[in-house]
């Protein structure tokens, strides 16, 4: 187990000039010993580059990687003692499930009795114990990926376990189970886990802290709560949440707030910088109000969807689109009707130049 400190940048080009030449812009980051982390972002954001630097598959073009204060920047994954789980199962088809799980331990000459015990524990956690003597070849893709996960987790002495989109090939129902298993295993074993994904639900439910990345930049590192409630950057607001945060043009001047062309009372207790702002409000916090209610904005409904557990309303508001997630008990307006929506509240965020200011 190790604490991991990063202070680095990476470019795949020999003489990087502008920001665009960097796969990873300069970043400083610490992964606590025993913590569960996720690197989250769209394709090309740099998350896999970052993972490869942590594992030792890639040497950063500048800066250092430290494990427990020791510089490991130029050491191999073996020397760093890293376990890895990939997108697709990496297992030996001709071996039994038990032999597959035991393999990383056998390689390190762990005593037989200890191997049996550890393989038993991991198999039980992943509900593979009924299959221990079966050959891996006959198992489903899901089961094989479980073996891959088990092999990643079987050694108690690793510095960290790194996962690269490990649940991509898994069906939604089983994803639930496996995400849960991973979380419980983390709770029991307290391994340092780093998990790369583009799926926010996976990242937020799995990790204690999530690093949100875009275009080579780590824009925010925080808990699910922080990323959802107080996105530090409009990108985080947009990327986290499904659908993401609504943004409306706003303007603050002399204690007054203009949103989507209407004057509203400035929210109490908030200090807003003067000038052009973006108001950010999550669909979960947009509420329906009665017509002409103070603080409410009139929007024209363009779509009303029954999404099962909620109603999702899409509406046009002075040239902007706004989405509202309503409880199924609410009387949802119909397409073409005017819905009066409130967007100001304790959960509303304000951005200037894409950065959170209030």
């Amino acid at each position: 187990m190790a604490r991991i400190d990063l202070d680095l940048a990476h470019s795949y080009k020999p003489n990087p000039k502008g920001d665009d030449d960097y796969a990873l812009l300069p970043l400083k980051m610490t992964f606590r010993d025993g913590g569960a982390y996720a690197l989250l972002g769209p394709s090309g954001c740099g998350k896999t580059t970052l993972l490869n630097i942590v594992s030792g598959l890639l040497v950063p073009s500048t800066g250092t990687v430290q494990f427990d204060g020791r510089d490991v920047t130029r050491t191999t994954p073996q020397q760093r003692n890293i376990a890895q789980v990939f997108q697709f199962p990496v297992i030996y088809d001709t071996m039994t499930v038990a032999e597959n799980l035991a393999f990383p331990l056998k390689n390190r000459q762990v005593p037989e009795a200890q191997i049996r015990q550890r393989v038993g524990e991991i198999a039980e956690m992943l509900e593979l114990n009924r299959h221990l003597d079966q050959r891996a070849a006959g198992l489903s893709a899901d089961q094989k990926q479980k073996i891959s996960l088990g092999r990643g987790l079987v050694r108690a002495d690793v510095s960290a376990v790194l996962f690269d989109e490990p649940l991509t090939v898994i069906d939604p129902h089983l994803k639930w189970q496996l995400r849960r298993k991973l979380k419980q295993i983390h709770h029991e074993l307290r391994l340092t886990l780093i998990y790369v994904t583009h799926d926010q639900v996976e990242a937020l439910t799995f990790a204690e802290e999530v690093v949100v990345m875009t275009r080579g930049r780590a824009v925010q590192m925080g808990s699910a709560e922080a990323l959802f409630e107080r996105p530090a950057h409009t990108f985080v607001g947009h990327f986290i949440g499904s659908p993401g945060m609504n943004f409306l043009p706003a303007r603050a001047s002399a204690g007054r707030l203009e949103v989507a062309g209407r004057q509203l009372a400035a929210p109490a207790g908030r200090v807003l910088p003067e000038g052009e702002l973006k108001l950010g409000v999550r669909p979960e916090y947009v509420a329906i109000a009665s017509p002409e209610a103070p603080g409410a904005l009139p929007a024209t409904v363009t779509l009303a969807q029954d999404i099962g557990t909620h109603m999702m309303l899409t509406a046009r508001l002075d040239g902007a689109t706004i989405k509202a997630r309503l409880t199924p008990e609410a009387a949802a307006p119909r397409v073409g009707e005017t819905a009066w929506l409130t967007v100001l509240g304790a959960h509303t965020c304000f951005y200037k130049d894409e950065v959170l200011v209030a």
Binding site: P42, D171, W176, T205, A224, F228, G244, D306, I307
Partner: protein
């Protein structure tokens, strides 16, 4: 167009890929084929397209028998999981190819229109390999739309794209489908995607078509446990129960006052969606006490896994809630929000809907 499948099945060697089924697709609407991998979605689509011939049964288009008519002789557009484009053609030529093939005029203008609708108009002169995965799939979609075929089949078209991109493209597709007059079939493994697409849903499981109807109706009144399982994310909580004089008696738990039909079996399963469980009390609730096993915060929701005497339950709570693992917790449920299934797994009672 009206596509009908009558008692079609598909045997491949000794294994059955599709059991006999009847399906009349809703014309000029989206039909979602929902099911896990191996449920039979792709097999069914291939029969619809004419890529495969059913082992038995008939396929008709607008009343005419097309069973065994190959795909080349049908007017069908298809989009697959993998981004399939002509690698040596520019984006513009890719999109325009079905138009040129049938000798249309104004090809360039039509291509520009479609490219603009799919937000790829700035890439018209590039080759597909120079685009990101999401953009490549947009090209494939634009080409399928250009064909203007009365039947459009999409087999998990967004599955290889990033989560956020999937969200954007899904929304655009929903609008495109709504404004077009094609009959669209869209396969997915994700219940949430089916709900967002709306339209009609055919739920499939292990080679069987289980239920077909308006998407929201199927979701709110799944006719069997199998449908409920396939069409819930997170999975529906299922609790073993018995019929009692006052309603439904949970084994090792309380009695819920739910009027049962006279013919109800004695042994029942109570189904409760995760979103129906609350931590705040309302009048008429029953309570289920337990301990917190796990709390997963997705931001907009918190999923709490609770160990209770009636089994393990998952509750979906709106917003961010903090729970200590192992802490005691009481879940509240309005009996009117519960589903009841009989011994055979058939739906007996579904929550009443307002609309």
């Amino acid at each position: 167009m009206e596509l009908k499948l009558e008692r079609v099945d598909k045997q491949v060697g000794a294994s059955t890929h599709l059991y006999p089924l009847d399906l009349a697709l809703q014309s000029q609407a989206v039909t979602v084929l929902l099911g896990a991998t191996q449920a039979g979605k792709t097999s069914l689509m291939r029969l619809m397209a004419g890529l495969d011939k059913p082992s038995h049964g008939r396929v008709t288009v607008d009343g005419a028998d097309v069973t065994g008519v190959p795909v080349r002789e049908r007017n069908v557009a298809m989009v697959y999981q993998q981004f399939i484009n002509y690698p040596s053609m520019t984006v513009a030529d890719n999109i325009g190819s079905p138009l040129k093939l049938r000798g249309d005029k104004n090809v360039a203008q039509r291509v520009r229109e479609l490219a603009a609708r799919l937000h790829i108009d700035m890439f018209l002169d590039r080759l597909p390999a120079e685009l990101s995965g999401g953009q490549q799939q947009r090209v494939a979609l634009a080409r399928a739309l250009a064909k203007g075929a009365p039947l459009m089949l999409l087999d998990e078209p967004l599955v290889n794209l990033d989560y956020k991109l999937r969200e954007e493209l899904r929304e655009e597709l929903t609008l495109l489908f709504a404004s077009g007059d094609s009959t669209v079939v869209y396969a997915t493994t994700e219940p949430a995607e089916a709900l967002l697409l709306g339209g009609y849903t055919a739920v499939m499981d292990a080679g069987e078509l289980l239920q077909y109807g308006p998407t929201a109706s199927v979701f709110h009144a799944p006719k069997s446990l199998r449908v409920a399982r396939a069409f819930s994310d997170p999975p529906m909580n299922l609790i073993a129960a018995d019929a009692a004089s006052l309603g439904v008696h949970l084994r090792a738990g309380p009695v819920l006052s739910i009027p049962l039909p006279a013919a109800a079996s004695r042994s029942l399963t109570l189904g409760v969606r995760a979103s129906a469980l609350r931590v705040t009390a309302r009048g008429g609730d029953v309570t289920l006490s337990g301990t917190v096993e796990l709390a997963e915060i997705s931001g907009s929701d918190t999923f709490v896994h609770v160990d209770t005497p009636v089994g393990e339950l998952v509750a979906q709570l709106t917003g961010v809630h903090r729970f200590d693992l192992g802490a005691p917790i009481t879940l509240h449920l309005d009996p009117a929000m519960a589903y009841v299934f009989d011994e055979q797994g058939n739906l007996l009672v579904a929550p009443a809907r307002k609309n």
